[in-house]
Symmetry: C2
Subunit: 356 residues, 2 copies
């Protein structure tokens, strides 16, 4: 699914407010043939984002189709308005994509499959509408099987939402592969699912099945890979989302944890009256909570330093290591090799084993 030739819709928001679009462009195996942003039509991706494959930015799906000589497999909705609704201004592009025989992929709260016009049109043209935020129907309660898989399992855990757990997970997978390890990303949120082409949006499953949904992903991925990096969600200290965090921690039964933190963050984002505890308390909390179900240790840290200059970033990472006692890096700024080093130490794997 992820070797598709795609067009990414990002009207009015490319690149800074198009997190999903950028995630797919940076980490997906898809080939992006064009970006739709009518506010920047005529520019190139490279004019705005230096480190992803270049592509034209165009006004509409028909323009994208022309630019790609008609050879497009899917249209990805690469932005989400607050509330996750479907903007009617996107409809002509979605309609044109379906009529051109393309699948449409979206991670909105509004499901394309609940839209009568689009479903009828999709049926007529024999294409799929893929709502990645709709969990599959066959999810059930966890059985405890994730603890028995024949793969090492790592989970990214956070001090808050929006600290870079998905990015850290993807960078860890890339750095592990650079070392010859057969690593796989296990997506638990809609952007990760769009990037990887599989996964379950854990925040949308029925709460009784939270751990079960993650367990199913781990069991599936462990059949084919030796190291799994499970994308964490939220934070165990989050007043609203900790249930999801806890279900992922217990459902994935990780052998090791990577603690993700945004340098300088002092309170829960959007819940400013809830201060973040010290980093060492997070280590104790995550390890203590994991232990009765499946013992696990924080073995490395991923520090998001995007708002800092280089010396301040280095200082933030050093301070993280001082507080937690584990190696850390900003996976975007530095790559995740140092994090993978910590992981392999923590898992008791050495490179000989890996090469074997």
């Amino acid at each position: 699914m992820t070797d598709e030739r795609i067009v990414v819709l990002a009207h009015g928001k490319f690149p800074d407010r198009a997190k999903t679009a950028l995630g797919v462009m940076r980490y997906g195996d898809q080939t992006v043939e064009a970006v739709l942003d009518r506010d920047r039509a005529g520019d190139r991706v490279a004019d705005h984002v230096p480190d992803v494959a270049d592509a034209p930015i165009v006004d509409s799906f028909p323009d994208a189709l022309a630019a790609a000589d008609g050879d497009i497999d899917a249209l990805y909705i690469g932005i989400a308005p607050i509330g996750g609704g479907f903007e009617e201004s996107w409809r002509p592009d979605v309609r044109a994509a379906i009529e051109a025989g393309c699948d449409v992929v979206a991670g909105l709260h509004y499901f394309l499959n609940d839209d009568a016009e689009l479903t009828a049109l999709a049926e007529e043209h024999g294409v799929s509408l893929r709502d990645v935020r709709r969990p599959p129907e066959d999810i059930g309660v966890a059985t405890g099987d994730a603890g028995d898989v024949d793969a090492d399992v790592v989970c990214t855990v956070g001090t808050d939402c929006s600290v870079g757990k998905m990015t850290a997970s993807l960078e860890i997978v890339a750095a592990a592969r650079d070392r010859g390890i057969d690593a796989a990303f296990v997506p638990t949120g809609q952007t990760g699912i769009m990037i990887a082409g599989w996964g379950t949006p854990i925040d949308r499953v029925i709460s009784d099945f939270t751990a079960g949904a993650v367990e199913a992903l781990v069991v599936e991925a462990a059949a084919d890979h030796e190291l799994l990096v499970v994308e964490g969600q939220g934070s165990i200290t989050h007043p609203a989302y900790s249930a999801v965090t806890c279900g992922i921690l217990h459902g994935s039964m990780p052998d090791a944890l990577v603690l993700c933190h945004a340098a300088g963050r002092e309170a829960i984002h959007g819940y400013e009256s809830f201060p973040l505890p010290p980093l060492a308390e997070y280590v104790d909390l995550y390890e203590g909570l994991a232990r009765p179900v499946h013992e696990s240790s924080v073995v490395a840290g991923a520090v998001n330093t995007k708002d800092l200059d280089a010396p301040a970033a280095d200082e933030a990472i050093e301070s993280f290591t001082g507080e937690t006692g584990v190696p850390a890096a900003d996976p975007v700024r530095d790559g995740a090799d140092r994090i993978v080093g910590g992981l392999l130490d923590g898992l008791g794997r050495d490179l000989e084993e890996v090469d074997a």
Copy 2:
């Protein structure tokens, strides 16, 4: 809603395998006019259960209607087969109840409101089908407001599922009322909801809304009462259900916790390869997890000793107190006054305050 005159359906399972029926009979304000159990028709409730109001056990809904001189408000489904389905052998009774103008109340996974025949019949007769396991549509994410309510909030937390958290919560409310405290039970599971006539089945909400659903209940109940006892679910060490537990802990923002335990339980029920940690570790886990969101302490224990004789029960309770440092009782065997004593000490309330 809970001053209804009701009939409880418990075919083939009364009393030992009719947990919901017994819960409603023991703790609900409803008047039970008859129990339906075709295997025991002709017996009386008092022949089997000494400590609840007596009522005839009859073969069918028409027999119940006759026994109650036609004066019945609702039929409660008081049993649940494994899987939570609707048994077709119940349909004649449900049909007869609707035709007699009665509401039907069920906590099944199968929703009566999804049954075409029953919904049509209910509409025809102007009655409601109340599926208490279907969460309301308007639940959203937690805002953190539960921490600001003008009531003391207590949450029952467990070492496992099925240790008696609902019963402990109801007994604590009863014992607090005996002391003149305006206490209210906050139901989070289907049996509790059927007993109390309100509440939300937290295990059925979307995982992102777990804390939000509990918060809404706490805010609602706090408007009318001075002490809330929130029914906990699962256990923070449960491999499948810990997400629900965590969401209730953080969503309810309790001022104090009552740790519930089944004496002699050594492993998670149904997950026997997961041993229970020592009780003192549970205290640390629950308090540690609560602290970053809303500081709380374990102030009392509820020990389920139903499988023990009196001396062994006393020993189990003493041992619980020895391990945790808090007063404890079996609320069924001893009543919950000692637990309420621990609560009031923990909350820093004295009886003068209460009387004021």
